[in-house]
């Protein structure tokens, strides 16, 4: 029950979908429509699971008064308020009436949900990601060393890409045609992207594809079972 049924489900669903990809018969098309539909619905339940797990972890922290439990309280309050205003679609409709408006557009400007998205979610997520600019600058200064010929080649390629759109590119503006087609910095950058970068990325892509194909086969055939977890 605990291992056999999940393995069977994986095998049947996986095999059906591979079969449906290659067989254009209308009856098989029904499988190709329904299974992704079911997947989409289960994926929505996964969001609910994520929210539930977050509540469980943080409520445990609060009840035990663990280290920095007050921050866990902030998380739970933010979660509960956003969930309430979102599920009830609380806010003002187009006529200015305050109340719950289920079934409307979540991006409607009168909703508290939309306000919290613009005031909290949007700025926080954007700022978190923008911190990376500082860390990449720090890493560039402290860690990127031309210690080997390969590392030097990496840095040269990176420099060409970085300076191609800067005024520094005028340094190669004097190169006469037709050599400028390949040696002028913006053109050199375009060549790097569409030739050696393409070759390197294609290599990685083929390697990853082979890995995914073999792993998918192993999952469908039941050889790979690590996703089932523990001993039971």
């Amino acid at each position: 029950m605990k291992r056999t049924i999940p393995l069977l489900i994986t095998a049947v669903v996986g095999a059906l979908l591979v079969f449906a990809y290659y067989v254009p018969h209308p009856a098989v098309g029904g499988i190709n429509r329904k299974i992704p539909d079911f997947f989409n619905i289960i994926a929505a339940f996964a969001f609910v699971l994520g929210g539930g797990n977050l509540l469980r972890v943080h409520l445990t922290k609060i009840s035990r008064r663990d280290h920095e439990w007050l921050y866990a309280l902030v998380t739970v309050l933010g979660f509960v308020v956003m969930l309430f205003v979102g599920l009830t679609m609380f806010g003002r409709d187009e006529d200015g009436r305050l109340g719950m408006h289920p079934g409307g557009d979540l991006a409607s400007p009168g909703l508290v949900f939309d306000w919290m998205y613009r005031a909290i979610f949007d700025p926080c997520q954007s700022t978190m990601f923008s911190l990376l600019a500082f860390f990449v600058a720090s890493a560039s200064y402290r860690a990127f060393r031309a210690k080997t010929p390969e590392a030097t080649l990496l840095l040269i390629a990176a420099f060409v890409i970085l300076v191609r759109s800067t005024p520094v590119s005028v340094l190669t503006g004097w190169i006469p045609e037709p050599f400028a087609q390949y040696l002028h910095l913006p053109n050199l950058a375009a060549w790097i992207m569409s030739v050696p970068n393409l070759a390197g990325q294609r290599t990685i892509q083929i390697g990853i594809a082979l890995g995914i194909i073999s792993n998918s086969l192993r999952l469908i055939l039941g050889i790979e079972r690590s996703h089932l977890g523990g001993k039971d």
């Binding site: 999940p6 994986t10 095998a11 049947v12 669903v13 979908l17 591979v18 990809y21 992704p36 997947f39 619905i41 289960i42 996964a46 969001f47 699971l49 469980r56 943080h58 921050y71 902030v74 933010g78 979660f79 956003m82 979102g86 599920l87 979540l106 306000w115 919290m116 909290i120 979610f121 700025p123 926080c124 954007s126 700022t127 990449v136 390969e150 080649l153 390629a157 990176a158 037709p178 050599f179 087609q181 790097i192 992207m193 569409s194 030739v195 970068n197 393409l198 070759a199 390197g200 294609r202 290599t203 990685i204 083929i206 594809a209 082979l210 995914i212 998918s216 996703h227 089932l228 039971d232």
Partner: protein, 228 residues
């Protein structure tokens, strides 16, 4: 002060709180970080509920009960086959109850089976067969080239693409020792990969700086709104 300007002020203050981490870790940053975690988890849940669970599950199982919130359910007949994803979805939620968490493996198995079944043919076609085909059919001669340099560079580019892919794949083949000609080909593969990684690094720097420009632009607009 209207809701829009309050939202801008709250956003600006949270932005500065998160930026304060650059000086050192502090209570303001932790507050903003934890608030974001809670709000974003609820955001995903609400979207999943109103965009999928209600219109594509509940309205299909119980159209009469949901026709007031889902227009398309009006007059529709129930589709009882959707009891399957409802059951699997509820089973997935059993993961939260330790004594019966094992049963959520059934739903996970469906998700994994779906992912494996869809990835296998698509990666085989888009990321393997088509890529190999394109590599092997890379032209080495451009009949429309007007200058000798264009012809030479076309040939060199084609050689770099074909040779680069082959040598790169040789580098990743660890079942044979990288010695002799095999080792030299592997070394050439590393050189091509290094150029690709350098290009990726350049683009990554570009991406990160763009995001910072966006935030500073927002802060500039906020400060302007304070003084106007």
């Amino acid at each position: 002060m209207n809701a829009e300007s309050v939202a801008t002020w709250v956003g600006a203050l949270l932005t500065l709180m998160i930026f304060s981490f650059l000086y050192r870790d502090n209570a303001f940053y932790k507050f903003a970080e934890h608030l974001f975690v809670g709000v974003s988890a609820a955001y995903w849940m609400v979207q999943g509920f109103w965009q999928q669970i209600i219109p594509n599950l509940m309205a299909k199982l119980f159209p009469r009960q949901f026709e007031s919130v889902v227009e398309a359910a009006r007059g529709a007949a129930p589709e009882y086959i959707y009891a399957i994803p409802l059951l699997l979805g509820l089973i997935l939620l059993c993961r939260l109850i330790p004594s019966i968490a094992w049963i959520s493996r059934w739903s996970m198995a469906f998700i994994i089976g779906y992912t494996a079944g869809t990835n296998l043919p698509r990666y085989l076609v888009s990321d393997f067969m088509i890529q190999v085909e394109k590599t092997l059919s890379t032209p080495l001669w451009n009949p429309q080239a007007t200058h000798w340099l264009d012809s030479v560079m076309f040939f060199v580019s084609g050689l770099v693409i074909v040779g680069g892919v082959v040598c790169g794949l040789i580098y990743f083949f660890f079942s044979k020792e990288h010695t002799g000609a095999f080792g030299r080909a592997s070394r050439a593969g590393i050189w091509v990969l290094m150029v690709a990684f350098g290009a990726s690094f350049g683009y990554t720097v570009m991406a990160r700086i763009s995001l910072l420009i966006g935030r500073i632009s927002f802060l500039r607009d906020w400060i302007e709104s304070v003084f106007t």
